[in-house]
């Protein structure tokens, strides 16, 4: 293929992908324009029309979403649950993964395979019993639901970190031990820094899961007292009576905007983390 023909093909591809990108962003854009309309001008067949001077509502929908629907409280719960769960998963699972990779025993092998097994099992298999176990142990508040997430997220984390551990040279740890480090110090000052790339991948994957998770918190938490963001959105849709569309759409935008900001800021890590996680997995 000559260079000029290749350039021509490339520019065609750029145009095609450009059009596709616009189509990709459009659904989010549609929610944005509707969230700026007045309540009575949001109709089923008018979702594609832009707001006009008469129907433009400014930020009133956003204000009522934040004020009336308890959006900020839900945001707080979601943030706390995600951060505490991911932190617990990264800390405890990397510790166990190191143990499982370095100590060969029946227990290690059994636990490793149980973790792998738990990744394939669908949530419906355990949802009822998990909710009742959580109730019995009083693990049904946003403050300690991370224990459940640690248990259910351990499979993926242990699997990925143990896989990575195999490529970490044993000699460095041995040298540290000979120099007088105990296992705890060896782990925190030698092993954990070397695990950083895989911890980033695991952290991103688990954060995406916990932040967007709907069914587990719905079954475990008391919906009257605590609603995470996905629960809030489903709750307002499912509740009887008229759904206020404007504040609803504003609520969706308020959910998406932080995700997009975090994504654009950490884009490189997220994409690299996903790719690395998949290759290891």
């Amino acid at each position: 293929m000559t260079a000029s023909r290749k350039r021509f093909v490339n520019s065609i591809f750029t145009v095609v992908l450009g059009v596709l990108s616009v189509a990709y962003i459009y659904p989010v854009f549609m929610i944005l324009i509707n969230s700026l309309k007045q309540e009575n001008s949001i109709t089923t067949n008018g979702a594609f029309t832009l707001p006009t001077a008469e129907t433009f509502a400014g930020v009133t929908n956003y204000v009522s979403a934040i004020e009336a629907q308890g959006f900020l409280r839900s945001l707080g719960y979601s943030l706390f649950i995600t951060i505490s769960s991911v932190a617990a998963i990264l800390l405890f699972c990397s510790m166990s993964a190191w143990y499982l990779a370095r100590v060969k025993s029946i227990f290690s092998t059994a636990m490793y395979y149980l973790c792998v097994f738990s990744m394939v099992v669908p949530f419906q298999m355990v949802m009822y019993t998990l909710a009742s176990t959580a109730d019995t142990l009083k693990l049904n508040t946003p403050w300690n639901i991370w224990i459940i997430y640690l248990g259910f997220g351990a499979g993926l984390a242990v699997f990925m970190i143990t896989g990575f551990m195999k490529s970490v040279p044993l000699e460095i740890e041995e040298a540290a031990m000979i120099d007088g480090c105990n296992p705890i110090r060896t782990f925190f000052s030698i092993v954990m820094p070397m695990l950083k790339p895989t911890l980033v991948s695991v952290g991103i994957l688990e954060a995406m899961w916990v932040w967007n998770d709907y069914l587990l918190p719905t079954l475990v938490l008391d919906i009257k007292k605590y609603k995470t963001i996905p629960m809030l959105i489903q709750y307002f849709r499912g509740s009887y009576g008229r759904v206020e569309m404007g504040p609803m759409m504003a609520c969706i935008m308020l959910t998406i905007i932080p995700i997009i900001i975090v994504y654009l800021a950490g884009q490189k890590h997220i994409i690299k983390g996903v790719a690395a996680g998949a290759v290891k997995g």
Binding site: T44, M95, S96, Q124, Y128, G151, R237, V279
Partner: protein, 284 residues
Amino acid sequence: MEKAIKRYAPIFVLPTFLAFTIGFIVPFFQGLYLSFCQFTTAKNAKFIGFDNYIRVFQDETFLDSFGFTVMFAIVSILSINIIAFALAMILTRDNLKGTNVFRTVFFMPNLIGGIVLGYIWQILLNCVLSIVGEPLLALNSTAGYWGMIILMCWQQIGYMMIIYIAGIQNVPEALVEAAAIDGATSWQTLTKVKLPMVMPSITICVFLTLTNSFKLFDQNLALTAGEPRHATEMLALNIYNTFYARAGAQWKGLGQAKAVVFCILVIVISLIQFRATHSKEVQQ
């Protein structure tokens, strides 16, 4: 060294092990046991043997949702993987402008949760349907089916594309050049050199799309909620409805038995798929 670490087992393994026991091991085995029981709460379970399992296979809604899930899985696995691979091939071309922007855009929907995605597409599809004069999603199972396919494609193509890009970039330059020197056409290079080399990525992507399609719940609940009359209800939602949408002593045991059948199904299908594509991988 092993001995030294072993003495610290309580610190290193115990927290995860306890949480894993609470979050997975206990619920799993209790769930297995409850599938043989009649119960309304976990405490009043009465052992009734295989009755629940017999009823699972007499339950038409379950068999219907199984058929729907299989049809959904086949079409969505094929379309997601083919489109994602094609995009990855285009985005790994030399000197293509805007690669990073496209990659960022295509990956974005993946970060939005299933409930929100389902709601966005419900508004969009209902608008399209009302403009062309078709029944809305709540009354239109064909639109519900294709709506879920489109939604899944929109959400998952970017993720799979990233994995394929990593796979394609790992193909050694020397192999492609050697093929070109030997006179291979670009189609031959693709099918005889690149495809076998990215087989590990294909294994993973097919595995992920397969399990995601079978386990799909949030998107199903938010987009169609199984409407009209359970026609677009997938297995996970069917199990959920058996548990929580009906009152009465006979339902929870049935739901748990369905869940066990579902679990075995997912495990068997993933194992078969993994064997099948794994065996086509080549060693470098």
